[in-house]
């Protein structure tokens, strides 16, 4: 896969990770916000219930306070005494009660009025009025007292019964001191109420009667109404439920008292615990609803009725902050992912392009060079395909191996010592190395090893780049061996020549020697003319043979570049005179003239003997071609700017233009038919050329048929 794609994918992965992280943190913050709302809502419902319980507790305290009123006690005492005197008091009471309940309201007026107009009734009424005034609403809907026979003694308003002793509350209050009645509809007061019945005792603790207070529920439930109006959530709904799961109050507009809540959707939740929190979707409206439940725990020694307060919210309303948070977080996450992806794209491109270019370079390098990386000890940690191909090892075989496994025995230890010395000192080493492949076959590589430094500036690894030069090396070796063979041949030729020279000269020694002896009458006596001529012929041919040997040796030396030149300063004029003298003996019998035309006094630093050899050679050549008697040879030496020019001029037949160029070639002879007793090997001019050029000069010829020939050469002064 392309690097850019990889980078983009990794950036997208990063973005997704951030999104997941964001979602998780969002989830937890949402949960904690929900927890918070739940807690607040529970606290609120608990608070409201507490307030309600506290109010009921206060009413109980007040009812107990009423029961201690001495005026009430006295009037009940009087009533008790009155009833004590009635003979069949039970029968009397039943008659009175049936009379109370059977007649119409208007008809029992006389009886009721008796009670209502009772002094105590006025007291009770004033108590009700006092509280109504204090609280601004009816607190006590009704208060009435009974004597110990359960008969009403005083009452703030008309009661439905006259005889109360058959009522459960009366019995409980008489026996246990107090009775609390859960919410009901008070028939006599005409309100939804709770009742508090308290036993009244005289100062000695004897049972006097019971006082019952009917508490207006509206007053208590105002607390709920108030809480709703104070709530920041308009959708909030309060529902107060009694111990039997009947609605006793609701802020809903069309609620019904004692409606059974067990049919409502939150019933199951109600059953689960004292107070908690649940979110449900309303099956009709499809709107999420959030319920919070709290159960009343009473207040102080009042245990409470076990009421449940339900707070119901519209989730959209209550969780709007969460939704907002949700939206903000989502937006931030989306923005972040977007930024990350865009940055990733830009970054990937900016990184990928130079890396791709480098990769292309590496690809080309891998294709043409053997690339390997080793650690600082030379252990291979990377080798490219080309490396494996040339070394014939697989990658697995190479990795971990020391580079030494490729070492051939070709190079001396000093070679590798130099290599390690160079690279371990941080320098680049480069040379041609002969290595050994897996199958033992050798291969040549041009090697560059470069040390790679770590962060601390210490060498960590080496990168080697090699090019396969085996073919070049093979060619080179072929050329070398060819050259060596030629060299060997040359040397053998040289050795052979040395040997042959010695072997030829040795027999020449007695030949030349005896000829000389024969020509000297003092040694072996006189020879006749014919004998003398014969000896001359032997001697001349022997000397010719000797020159041939010398020329061959010189030619060989020149060819091998082994001719030594011994340069020192000498007088050219003296040399020229000496040469003329040397030829004096040879010229005499032929009447050939040799003139030295040199006028300049010249000193030259060069090899005098070799220059003499060249001049002698040229003069000998000339002698072969000039006519006897009229033959004339001139030698001359001129001082020019940087050279000294020597010249040998003859009045021979001249040389054709085409042949002039060939004169200095080895074994070339211009005209063998004209050769005389000096003979020739065809080496003379070639040797002259070799010597002159060896001394840094040049040799040439000027000639015209019929006008003679001039050989001249220039020798540099320095």
């Amino acid at each position: 896969m392309q690097l850019a794609k990889k980078l983009i994918i990794s950036f997208i992965c990063m973005g997704v990770l951030v999104a997941v992280f964001g979602y998780v943190s969002f989830y937890f913050s949402e949960r904690s916000l929900e927890e918070n709302i739940k807690e607040n809502s529970n606290l609120r419902s608990q608070g409201i219930l507490n307030e309600i319980d506290k109010n009921i507790f206060l009413r109980i305290i007040e009812s107990e306070e009423f029961s201690k009123d001495p005026r009430l006690k006295t009037s009940i005492q009087i009533s008790n005494e009155k009833y004590d005197k009635i003979k069949d008091v039970e029968k009397y009471i039943d008659e009175q009660d049936s009379k109370w309940t059977s007649v119409s309201f208007e008809e029992k007026n006389s009886l009721v009025e008796n009670l209502i107009d009772h002094e105590n009734s006025k007291i009770l009424k004033s108590k009700i009025n006092f509280y109504e005034q204090k609280f601004g609403d009816l607190v006590f809907a009704e208060i009435f007292t009974t004597n110990k026979y359960g008969v009403n003694v005083a009452q703030s308003d008309v009661t439905s019964d006259f005889k109360q002793s058959d009522e459960e509350w009366w019995q409980v209050a008489k026996n246990e001191g107090i009775h609390l009645n859960d919410v009901n509809f008070d028939e006599s007061a005409g309100v939804y109420s709770i009742d508090i019945s308290v036993r009244i005792d005289d100062d000695d603790g004897n049972f006097l009667g019971v006082i019952k207070s009917v508490i207006n529920l509206n007053d208590i439930l105002d607390t709920i109404q108030e809480a709703k109006s104070n709530s920041e959530h308009p959708s909030i709904l309060f529902e107060l439920i009694n111990n039997n799961y009947e609605v006793i109050y609701s802020t809903d507009t069309d609620w019904k008292l004692f409606e059974d809540v067990t049919s409502k959707i939150y019933f199951e939740s109600l059953m689960e615990g004292e107070s908690h929190f649940v979110i449900k979707e309303n099956e009709f409206t499809k709107i999420g609803e959030l319920y919070s439940f709290s159960r009343s725990n009473g207040y102080k020694d009042y245990d409470g009725f076990g009421w449940i307060l339900i707070l119901k919210y519209d989730t959209q309303d209550v969780l709007s902050s969460i939704v907002t948070l949700n939206f903000i977080l989502s937006a931030i996450a989306a923005l972040f992912i977007g930024i990350v992806v865009i940055f990733g794209l830009v970054f990937s491109r900016s990184i990928a392009i130079p890396i791709r270019e480098k990769n292309d370079l590496l690809k080309v390098l891998d294709e043409f060079a053997l690339v390997s990386i080793t650690d600082k000890h030379g252990n291979i940690i990377h080798a490219n395909e080309k490396f494996c191909k040339v070394s014939k090892y697989s990658k697995n075989e190479l990795i971990g191996q020391n580079h030494k496994i490729l070492k051939s025995d070709y190079h001396p230890p000093s070679f590798f010592k130099n290599l390690w010395g160079t690279i371990s000192s941080g320098k680049i080493w480069s040379n041609e190395v002969k290595n050994k492949a897996k199958d033992g076959s050798p291969y040549w590589v041009h090697t560059i090893i470069s040390p790679i430094f770590g962060a601390k500036g210490k060498i960590e690894r080496y990168i080697s780049i090699r090019t396969d030069i085996t073919k070049n090396k093979q060619n080179e070796e072929t050329i070398k061996s060819q050259y060596k063979r030629l060299k060997d041949t040359e040397q053998q030729k040289g050795e052979f020549l040395s040997m042959i020279t010695h072997e030829l000269r040795s027999p020449l020694t007695p030949i030349v020697g005896w000829c000389d002896a024969l020509k000297n009458p003092a040694i072996l006596g006189n020879l006749n003319e014919k004998q003398n001529k014969a000896v001359d012929t032997i001697l001349n041919n022997s000397l010719r043979l000797q020159r041939l040997i010398s020329d061959l040796l010189d030619a060989q030396k020149l060819e091998m570049g082994k001719m030594n030149f011994d340069k020192s300063e000498f007088s050219v004029s003296n040399l020229m005179n000496k040469i003329v003298n040397n030829f004096e003996y040879a010229l005499k019998p032929k009447n050939i003239v040799l003139d030295n035309l040199t006028k300049d006094k010249i000193n030259l630093k060069s090899d005098e003997k070799r220059i003499e050899q060249v001049l002698t050679n040229l003069i000998n050549n000339a002698l072969d071609f000039v006519p006897n008697e009229t033959g004339k040879i001139e030698i001359n030496c001129k001082n020019e700017a940087s050279d000294v020019v020597f010249e040998v001029i003859d009045n021979g037949p001249g040389i054709e233009k085409e042949k002039q160029k060939l004169l200095f070639k080895k074994f070339y002879q211009a005209d063998t038919s004209l050769r005389r007793e000096h003979g020739g090997t065809g080496l003379g001019l070639n040797i002259c050329k070799g010597i002159v050029e060896g001394l840094g000069g040049q040799i040439d010829v000027k000639s015209e048929i019929g006008k003679g020939t001039s050989f001249y050469f220039r020798i540099p002064k320095k």
Partner: protein, 122 residues
């Protein structure tokens, strides 16, 4: 003047024995290197002509043997050879104490010149 010629080739020794004796020199010859060495050591000759390339104990061996006792200036040795030797080689022999060098084949005239010059020097 006494001349000692050491050369394995008897034709050469015979030639110079004859010619030089005829020219009035006292010539002693040997074809054997070892014998030659002994004769040189006796220092009875005024001049020694020493061939280099000899089978067995060669002229070079003689020189080496003589050089063991120091320079050979006292022996008046002329190198007398048919071998290919350069001017450089001759210089080296002279540095070691040889008097000079004669290349074979030698002209009678040349060898007589050498003897005369040597005689004149001493």
């Amino acid at each position: 003047m006494k001349v000692l010629l050491i050369d394995d080739n008897s034709e050469i020794t015979e030639l110079f024995d004859t010619t030089l004796t005829a020219k009035g020199y006292s010539v002693q010859v040997t074809n054997n290197g070892k014998e030659g060495l002994d004769l040189i050591k006796k220092k009875e000759s005024d001049l020694v002509l020493l061939d280099l390339a000899m089978p067995g104990f060669s002229g070079e061996d003689i020189l080496k043997e003589l050089l063991k006792d120091g320079p050979i200036n006292d022996y008046n040795i002329y190198i007398f050879t048919a071998s290919v030797i350069s001017d450089q080689d001759i210089d080296n022999f002279i540095k070691l104490g040889a008097v000079g060098c004669l290349r074979k084949p030698v002209r009678l005239e040349d060898i007589l010149n050498v003897l005369e010059k040597h005689q004149a020097r001493n």
